[in-house]
Symmetry: C2
Subunit: 375 residues, 2 copies
């Protein structure tokens, strides 16, 4: 593999291109943005018309285009076409005219109206040597890809594989983390007489409202974690109170109310990365009221984190629309009607309006109810 056939200006251009990939790599940590960028740069660097990055779906045994230029999302069986041949052999493949190669699958061209000619495709491996994708550049503007192109191609496939593996690994750990929290929250829920599924529904409503209010994805994710953990302090409340079928005595009610402060106290023991730093405060403030008459701290208005103000509405709405020993679940519209009376005292007016919008747009359309507690 060498590039002795390249002229001085061509070499310079190539070097500049690689520099750009390097500089661009730290412009984002979003895996899809990075892969798109690598695809675009690859095609420029190799004077190709198009480039795509196929990712392996090992469950479905397919390859799909996680990043591509031109055509839309393509998904193919893992052993078909030129990309499939690369996935199967694990070798780089350089074809001058795809239509003369029996491995080529012309179906995609038929569908898109594009005409594939020269193809350079190679495997992307994890650091453990597992195949995770295929990088493919199509139609060299010079008519065909050269030996010299293969060296640069190999380097770019290495960058792309690293970016992809990192991204997948991070996403996998994040999903694990969120699932552990969801299941643990559900099992604390299950201790309480009334609250099976409650936490999952509060998390669903809260993140739905937050989305509607335009909060950024990372904040919504943190808020979802806070919502899952909002009743975590109940782990410190005795079964005798949590499961009592009769009305609670004033003393018992006070102890029950202590779950909010207990949530704060327990969550504050956790090491939480920056994104989740506010979780203990947000989770534990779901019984605060904008008039300052709530608990545990008696915060007022904007002193209450926005996430908690959303959660407060979601929490009451879910309680009213769930069965109790002494009453049936209320109809959602009746619950909202009843709750309206507490706008400005218990509930934040702006957030309440967003909640109503969320209800009308999404909940009411039957997206509800009883979401899966666990994914």
């Amino acid at each position: 593999m060498s590039h002795t056939t390249l002229s001085l200006p061509a070499l310079k251009m190539r070097l500049d291109g690689l520099f750009e990939v390097g500089r661009a790599l730290n412009s984002s940590l979003n895996i899809d943005e990075l892969l798109s960028l690598i695809a675009t740069k690859s095609s420029q660097l190799l004077s190709a018309d198009r480039a795509s990055i196929f990712v392996v779906d090992s469950d479905k045994q397919t390859l799909w285009t996680r990043a591509q230029m031109g055509e839309g999302r393509i998904e193919i069986p893992i052993n078909t076409g030129l990309a499939g041949a690369v996935a199967t052999s694990g070798q780089i493949l350089c074809v001058d005219d795809a239509y003369t190669d029996p491995r080529f699958n012309p179906e995609v061209d038929k569908h898109t109206g594009y005409r594939t000619q020269s193809v350079l495709a190679g495997p992307m491996f994890t650091s453990e040597g597992e195949l995770i994708g295929v990088l493919q550049v199509i139609n060299s503007t010079k008519g065909r890809f050269s030996e010299a192109d293969i060296g640069a191609f190999d380097a770019i496939a290495g960058f792309a594989a690293n970016v992809l593996q990192n991204g997948l690994l991070y996403a996998d750990l994040r999903n694990t983390f969120l699932s552990v929290i969801e299941v643990m929250a559900a099992s604390i829920d299950a201790k309480h007489r009334y609250t099976a599924g409650h936490t999952a529904r509060v998390a669903l409503y809260t993140s739905g409202v937050a989305r509607l209010m335009g909060l950024p994805p990372r904040e919504i994710e943190a808020l979802r974690v806070a919502a899952y953990l909002h009743d975590y302090g109940k782990i410190g409340i005795p079964d005798a109170i949590l499961q009592k079928p009769q009305a609670l005595t004033p003393e018992e009610y006070d102890e029950m109310k202590s779950h909010a402060a207990k949530t704060r106290q327990l969550l504050s023991k956790m090491y939480l990365m920056k994104q989740f730093k506010e979780v203990p405060l947000v989770a534990s403030s779901h019984h605060e009221r904008v008039d300052g008459q709530g608990y545990p701290q008696g915060l007022k208005g904007d002193q209450i984190p926005l996430g908690s103000r959303i959660m407060a509405i979601a929490d009451v709405f879910d309680a009213l629309t769930s069965d109790r020993d002494y009453r049936k679940a209320m109809e959602p519209m009746d619950a909202i009607e009843l709750m309206r009376k507490q706008i400005g005292t218990a509930f934040d007016p702006v957030v309440f309006e967003a909640f109503e919008g969320y209800f009308l747009n999404e909940l009411h359309q039957g997206v509800l109810k009883e979401p899966e507690a666990n994914r």
Copy 2:
């Protein structure tokens, strides 16, 4: 920034060097290995004698060499020396003779006996523009670094920043995940009359023995998670049994024993990434015995996961060496003596030997006891 001054062979060499960085990037996901590799390649690519990657410690307001060639670990105040000047200004810095530059700090040279002359140093930023490190190459073999070197340097700093940010982010999420599990485990512990601190100690002993037995770090981490979650099923046991001061009736004892099966059942609801796939089985098998008389499944010998065989010993050892209502804690040596009688029936002989080794080497030296439940 251009490299018009480079000759054709020099350009080729540089391009080959960048290709190598690309290929090497997916040989490992270990952040320290990758940074070392980038340092080495940087120095080769820029014909420098040495290279180091400084990382920002924002708590201590220092820069320390997370990867370096030659000298050992260096830690300097964030605003001192040439690296500090880069950290402060956020600009690339190219110095022909360090000793004529007032910002240069000659202390490190004095200490190591090395003679710094030309220096090329530049900032490493996250995708959000936050400074996370400084890349520095020292002593160009050509006497001084050129304009042309700066373009390549900039690209490499981009790669290095991306690798570093990814690695730090992943480590941060992992620490968050582990901490959430530890705190949740401790709060379930706290429900049980006897078991304050129990889970954290079992996790400590189990991972200590696993380390001594040479298990790979990733497996030890998974085992530590399993150990933290081994009594998680107790969340499904009523307070009346968990907190009963008197001896349990046979029926109550059976219900208590169901915590192992409940652990399996609850943990199986979690989405767990590959590394942690075995956690539900390993965590729930800590009451199995090698003679097949244990529970919940009555597994025998090697059918019991190795991690569970370690945990079984750690679990009994911690119970015996903790106070109970009806007896004081046993002395560790007495507990081990007593447990020896169950080698080959309850306990795996090879694992028991490792546990004794661990006890003599580490526990007995007073590393114990009462570890922090939360980091």
